[in-house]
Symmetry: D2
């Protein structure tokens, strides 16, 4: 079982923040998202500076023919484009499209993390009590360490969001911290293209 999985570096995962905010419950999500965006933008910057991979994992909103440029354009031109602009992926950002639910379900993320030698995922974005919770579980099952900065995840229902964080801490061995406390360890990023 030799291979790239041994370095134990960190990756910053940004979940569903390339968003049109026109789904059900968007009005409930927006106040939390507005608080999270500047915190997360700062965290993305620190990950880039530390040489840690930043991986956007995002629903495709049913746009099966779309690539991330189209998803990004769709999100930037909506009324809440100001929540997307500060988190715009740069040329080094990785982008994984998911269908729904966990960031691992039917996506190549496991394989990508293995290639990168990532042992710790820093989960950020939305929604705390949905995708973030499900993704923490799937990461834990895959023997990855999980860190969740509580000020960089957004919930629809504050109480369920708090419960989700407590579940992650108690039952999935997640470290619940503040964004300012996250430290990134190096990986073999950037990958030489195969």
């Amino acid at each position: 079982m030799s291979g790239p999985e041994e370095t134990g570096g960190s990756a910053l995962i940004v979940i569903d923040m390339i968003n049109t905010y026109d789904h059900d419950d968007a009005e409930l999500l927006l106040p939390a998202a507005e608080k999270v965006v500047p915190v997360l933008a700062e965290l993305v910057g620190r990950a880039r500076d530390a040489g840690a991979p930043v991986i956007y994992v995002n629903d495709n909103f049913g746009l099966w023919r779309s690539h991330h440029g189209e998803l990004l354009d769709a999100a930037l031109t909506r009324p809440h484009g100001d929540l997307v602009e500060p988190l715009r992926p740069d040329d080094d950002s990785l982008f994984v499209v998911k269908t729904r639910h966990s960031i691992f379900h039917d996506t190549p993320l496991s394989y990508l993390l293995w290639q990168l030698g990532v042992g710790t995922v820093v989960l950020t974005g939305q929604v705390t009590e949905q995708c973030v919770l499900y993704s923490a579980l799937d990461a834990h099952i895959r023997h990855l360490d999980v860190t969740v900065p509580r000020d960089a995840v957004a919930s629809i229902h504050a109480q369920l969001g708090s419960a989700a964080l407590e579940m992650m801490e108690r039952n999935m061995d997640a470290r619940i911290v503040l964004a300012g406390e996250v430290e990134f360890r190096g990986t073999r990023w950037p990958l030489a293209e195969e």
Copy 2:
């Protein structure tokens, strides 16, 4: 278990034909690919005419930031671009990126087929004794019916290709036919975007 899975339509799956042909064994694959391309181009046309979804499932060649346009451009501009041009996806084509191996492994294809109401996958492309074989197995495990037109799949080693077709027929209940014999049944394609 209600849902869209009930119609039992067909989808044409085109595996790894958006290809730069610069990998190991490419020289062994090219003669077979050259024979397959015109047959497959004709089959793609018939699927489009019948209203059946055409789904390209393709390796990303390590281009994690890439969308299908970049993959297509990369392939079209190589010396064997003439093998890609006749199979160029049109605006209605669906595109799923895989990392390696089966078309189902760590991809959203299962979910997409379920949404489309597809019960039969018509597997075409390359390599018969690798991705096509692995994909037939994964389709069979998922209770999908499998059809493989033997003149629309390309092998690296002719003998292993023949053995793979025999394995699919004997052990995975696949129908092995000629491309001219494939008939497409309708699905709920095109999807209304969610």
Copy 3:
């Protein structure tokens, strides 16, 4: 995609109730388990009377060589065997061993439900905010309908248990009911052995 999955019957799933109650947090779980056992015993009886399959899905507590008889014996002879006795599997009960987490993760349960023609799973047992929650998510992802009788599931932390039920209802389309409200629909159970 023809096959046995079409009847849409119900199965009663009993999660981790064959239990030695000697793990961490057992003292927190016991009061809830004591309330659940008689309710669940009655529900198991009604499922049997209705001809619905009763499927025990249970951790193996590290006993890799064990079969369900050994797991049952181990549990019955512990100080809390009185919580196991009323739920003792009968000769028609099905038994699936899981390693940890969801009832679907690395188990044959999906395949078994498909064979049985089950479209609705009635999830019972423990722990509400752990295995039951994770299993509801995995059932939802697999397009199964989920019913959870709130008086037939036990939590370690009452507040997290309530939050878990609310997550299942809001985000996984689960029906949260009382055990007395559950109605079982027939399946093709018992299976003719293959």
Copy 4:
């Protein structure tokens, strides 16, 4: 990603040899199985002597309530019980029940190998061009090293069996050897029970 996966020991996997030999194609399989049994019995003995885990992975023949004792009894009492007796699991053998196809599909084998610190699986048993081939692929996808002793696997169709071995060697990085060449490296077996 710390954990037990680091030692890189070997496990001997015995596939579908606890068998009633009353399925379709059994008559075609028997001559090959008869040659394999004594070679495999010797290899099982050497694995035990070396302290390597011996893991039986076996279809349940539809006996969902069964444990390995019942499967073993069923197999021993059939006309071909003499092919089962020399491979009888001892008290230290591990036993994993599969439904069909690969040894990894919907089984806890991945988790068990991870706990044991196994990096190399030695695949033996039957059928070369079916379960053994599918299992080699799934092991390769999981970044496990694969060794297949060609005289310890049995095929139904000799030509497809040979093709399967060639596919494993060429396309799944498997080492194809003779049983006498297999060397076992230690693992953290036996596991302390959790």
